[in-house]
Structure formats: C-alpha cells, structure tokens
Symmetry: C2
Subunit: 359 residues, 2 copies
C-alpha cells in the first residue's frame, strides 16, 4: 500500500455500506457465490478506504467483465494439490484471487500450533487485489507474514526491452503491540500502471524513470509507455528483486510467468494462471509473541522519530482508513463504470445516491 | 551480489590457495578455532571471486581487529534457544556471523524430510559477509531460500535525517536446473558505504541520490555523506522494504536494531547483537524439485533474452567466479592492511608473493 495514494480531495464520497451492497450484488449477478462476492468486495473496499484507488472498486467492473468472458471462474472447484505440515499447494481453478487467498488464510489458521513456519503456494489464481490486505490479516492473527504474486506482463528487467515481468507485488506485515501491523506493500514497478493510463487520459507526462518505449528508451510519454513497458523500481537492485519475486510466485506452485500470460485487463477471457506465495511465521516459536509485537512497535516509533514528518510504512493508509469508516472518495469514472454494468445487469446503481446515501 | 562490482582490471592478482592459507592463519593467530577461521575465510573469498570486493578480504583485518577488541567472540558458546520442527532460534554468542550461519545451514539440513518450510532466527551474531553466499548454498542443496540481516546504523528512512536503519541486505536464491542458483543479493541502501569511503579517498563526488548530509539534504559530497547517512534504494518503496527487513531480522530473534548498536567498523569492541533470519522452503512439498528447477531455468533464460546484453541476477558474479578459479584481483590497500596485521602477529604475509605465488 505504499505510494499509490489518490488525490481524493475533490472526489464524490460514497457510502461504505451502500458500496458493499451494490458491489456484491453486481458480482452475484454475473454468477459469483455470495460468500465469494463478499470476500472479493471486502478486499477492494479495504484498498479504497486505504487510499489505494488503483486496487479498489476501480477493478470491480473489470472483474465482472472477466467473469462474463471466462477469465475468472465464478464457480471454481479449488483443490489442495499437496498438503504437509507447514506446506501446501492450492489449485484455485481460476477463482477470484481473493477467494483463493481466503482459503489460504483459512488453511494457515489451521496450522497454528502444528507448524511454526508455513508456506502456501497457489496456482491457477487471478488478481488478489492489494497484497497488504492479506499479510496484514495474518499479522493481526499473530503471524509474521510475507506475500508475493505474479501478474500479467508489464515490466522490463533492468536494461531490457521485453516485458517478461509483472508488477510483482511484495507485501510484508509484522504484528505490532498497538494492533495495527507494520506493513510494507509495494508493486515492484516504479509507478502504477493505472497512473500511466490516467496521464494518457489527461494528456500529461509521466515522471522520468517510470517507463521505456517499445525500443527500450526512457520515455515520459504515456502513449509510448503503454506501447513499451514499465520499469522495475530501484534500478538494477529493484529489478533483481522483481525477477526473484516472479520466481517465488511461480516456481513452487507451477503457475505461469508474466511472459507466458495475457492480462485480463486487456483480454477478459484470459485464464492467467496467476501464482501466489505466502509465508507465515509464528513468533511463539522464537522470541515470543509479546516480545515480537513490542519490538515491532519500537521499530515503528524509531522510524516515525527519524525526522520531521517522517511516516512509517503503512501510516498513510492507516490514517486514510481511520477517516473513511462510513464513506470514502471514489472517482466519478469508477462510479460510472460500475453503474453502466449495474444497469445492464439490473442490479442497484451506486451513483444515484453516491454523495447523499439514502437511509 | 548485485551492483557492488569492483573495477579490477589493474589490480594485482593473488593466488586463491595462498590467500586462503594466509587468511586462516591470521584469524587463528587472533584466537579463532581452525574450523571457524576456515568458514569465515571461505565466505570472504567467495565474495572476492564474485567481484564483490566490498564483502571480501577487505573485511579480514577488520574482523581480526574486532576479535582482538572483543566485538567478535572467537571462542563462542553458541546455543539453540528454541527448537521446533521447521523453526529455531540460535544465540550465536557474538561469533563470526559466518560461524553462526554455518550452524544455521547445518540445522536446516537436518530438517530435510521433517519440515518442508523452515525459518531460523539468529540473535547475538555479527557481520555474516555476502548474504547470497548462504542462500546460494541452500539453493544448491535444493531449497528455495530467503535471507536477511541487520547491520550497524547507516541508512535513513525515506525523507528522514536519523539513520535508524542498517544497509539491511536481502538475498533470495532459487535452485536452477544448470546447478547455478538464481540469486538476487542486495544491500537495501542505494550505494555501498565502501564506495563512499573510496570517493572520499579519491576526492571525487558520489552519485546523486546516494546520500544525505547531517541535515537530511541530498548531497554528492562524500565527506558530507559520511557525516550524514546513506539513502535506502528505490525511494519510498525501497525504504519500506528496508524498514521491514530491519524488522524481519530482529523481532523474531530478539537482536538489536541498527539504531541501538554501533558498527564494529567504527568501534571494534562493539558487541553488535546482529540479527539474521533465514527461510528455506523444500520444493518437494509443492510442484516438485525437478519442475521447480526447470521453471527457474526458463525464467532466467527469459530475462537474459529480454534485450541486448541483458543479464539475469547473479550472472556477472557467476562469470567473475568462472574466471577466478585460481587467482583473483585484490586491492593493494587490502593486501597492505592484511600484511600489516600479519607482520604484527608473525603469520605469513600475502603481499610478498601476490603476483607470482611461490610453488
């Protein structure tokens, strides 16, 4: 959840309960089970409430389109391919990534007291939303948690011209004494693809260093960037991390690499075979849960105290969530996209009561 | 092992066997056990052979000084504080970090077939050399491996003035079919501290973005950088990763954070209480060892094929090692520092046969 915050000051506010109901009904209308719709929508709402619009309801109509086109399977037969103490592989049968991850979290919860270190790989999954949502929930349950995922092809390795990598998110959460896990959650691309699209639509340039054109030359032109690729963050170091996350996400679970797949954002019928890997470690087997949570708190305090206005990872998102308990800002274009689909499906619209929700 | 390559063309070549013997005798002379000296020196030689001079024999006289001053304990009583299937905490009693890591790798090896996912935390350790050496050895033994460590205080979080973080290395290795693990190994600082010192000595500027002065302002003046701090790589994203690595390295094992300790490089008597965390995952419990190694190979091939001259993570280091099987280049200042100490201790010198080793 780092660095993809929206400029939300002028956006209409939507009511959280209404957005939840409208979104769930929309996914149910395209064929999702009620509990699957709920799990998916909760993840998207968490992102919007955290100020991460790129992973919020913006994705809802895209998910719904993918269900209708066959890229996401709304009635999956998920199956555990292998299971051992502390290690398992889930075949998600093209489910919503969120549905796959709920099953992963359920399985990890069952390991408490059986295995102190747990790794779960997922194959045949799809977009799981904001990764920090999942590691944060594990940390709320007391685990030290690391999560990675593959995505569609978007990013060039350092110095390259072919986008063989995805935006390959990495999230890490540590349980903290105040109850709010210390969380880093980042795409390993320099900038968000959604912001490149926004710049194209607005006719503005993108920041230097974000993208290369089709010949691999640096560009600030969003059109050229979309014909080319995003760069990995942090130069050759970030590129190395991105390559290894591509590996961690895929090689244990047998999912597709980015360069072997096609994004549902460009082809909603694409069965992407996304891979995830989640690692969870129980502090009780080490220095203890209490000591760990106390030390995480001290680390966060030290970072916050390291200079004027310095924030610890996750602070901006936690602040946004605290302010968005009943309502949250949402881009008109997102409201319109949801409502176009709602009208088509005969489900309730979001926009007709967006700023002034009915009682 | 990414991005700290030396410009070695004009350096004298030293004989590997001779360097090994001289270095081991030097550590034994300050009180190290023969097997501890050997483990430590192998790790340093691996770095020099890989072209990572910053983690090679450059450190040897510093280690020896730390042993003599008490910062490193040459006769440690290491002890497993907790042990469970797949999870353990080692108290390294201020041993060489390399000695602690040899014990960690031994313990992980014993877990094969007992636990498919393993995490080992280490407290009261010291500098473990190049992190990729350890994860690479685990991957050679078939594990998917992740390793992190704390260090002394060197790095400011994004936008901060206080160096509450270390250079916090991250290494990840995946077993590959050709036998050479796919490895990313990076400090989470933008540049290496050793290169800042080198620029100061040479009277040159350091690259933009590497450092801030004591007031937190960006600087290219190496003196100002040394009075200030290094930046984390990759802007706010890399800073978030660095903070979470600080946490992963320390909170499970109960070691010190960077801001609570003092580097042995500045005070060789400092007992740093460095923390490490190693995670190892057995592919046999997932898609299988053979499938995993084949997929890693495909990923590496795809990265290499992503553009003209593109290298996969670890490629430059593997090339350097292939060329340095009997001899390797070493900076005259390193040879002199080792030989000054050798003369003092009455052990064999490196320099007297550096370019033309005696038979």
């Amino acid at each position: 959840m780092t660095g993809q915050r929206d400029a939300s000051a002028d956006l209409p506010l939507v009511d959280l309960e209404r957005a939840r109901a409208v979104s769930e009904q929309l996914l149910v209308a395209v064929g999702a089970r009620r509990d699957h719709a709920r799990a998916t929508v909760e993840n998207l709402l968490f992102a919007d409430r955290s100020g991460i619009a790129s992973h919020g309801l913006l994705r809802l109509p895209l998910y719904a389109a993918a269900v209708r086109a066959g890229g996401i399977n709304a009635d999956p037969r998920m199956r555990w391919v292998t299971e051992a103490p502390g290690a398992a592989l889930l075949d998600a049968d093209a489910a919503f990534g969120q549905v796959a991850m709920e099953e992963v979290l359920r399985w990890i919860g069952e390991q408490r007291g059986r295995a102190a270190t747990v790794a779960v790989a997922v194959q045949s999954s799809s977009h799981f939303g904001a990764g920090g949502y999942w590691t944060r929930r594990l940390a709320e349950a007391g685990w030290v948690a690391i999560g990675v995922s593959s995505t569609g092809p978007t990013v060039v390795p350092f110095g390259a011209t072919q986008k063989v990598l995805g935006t390959n998110p990495l999230s890490i959460s540590l349980p903290a004494r105040d109850g709010e896990p210390l969380t880093a959650d980042l795409a390993t691309s320099t900038g968000a693809y959604g912001k490149v699209i926004a710049a194209r639509n607005a006719g503005t340039a993108i920041p230097e260093g974000w993208a290369v054109d089709a010949e691999g030359r640096p560009t600030t032109d969003p059109e050229a960037a979309m014909a080319g690729a995003l760069t990995a963050f942090g130069g050759h170091k970030g590129s190395a991390v991105a390559v290894l996350i591509e590996g961690l996400s895929g090689v244990l679970g047998g999912s597709s690499f980015a360069f072997e797949t096609e994004d549902i954002w460009s082809n909603p019928a694409s069965r992407m075979n996304v891979g995830h890997l989640v690692i969870a470690i129980d502090p009780a087997a080490f220095a203890g849960a209490e000591s760990t949570a106390a030390r995480v708190q001290q680390l966060r305090d030290a970072v916050r105290g390291a200079g004027e206005g310095v924030l610890a990872p996750g602070d901006p998102e936690a602040t946004a969530r605290a302010q968005r308990q009943q309502r949250f800002p949402l881009a008109p274009s997102t409201i319109e996209a949801i409502d176009r689909m709602a009208v088509e499906l005969g489900t309730p619209r979001l926009g007709d009561a967006s700023s002034d929700p009915a009682p």
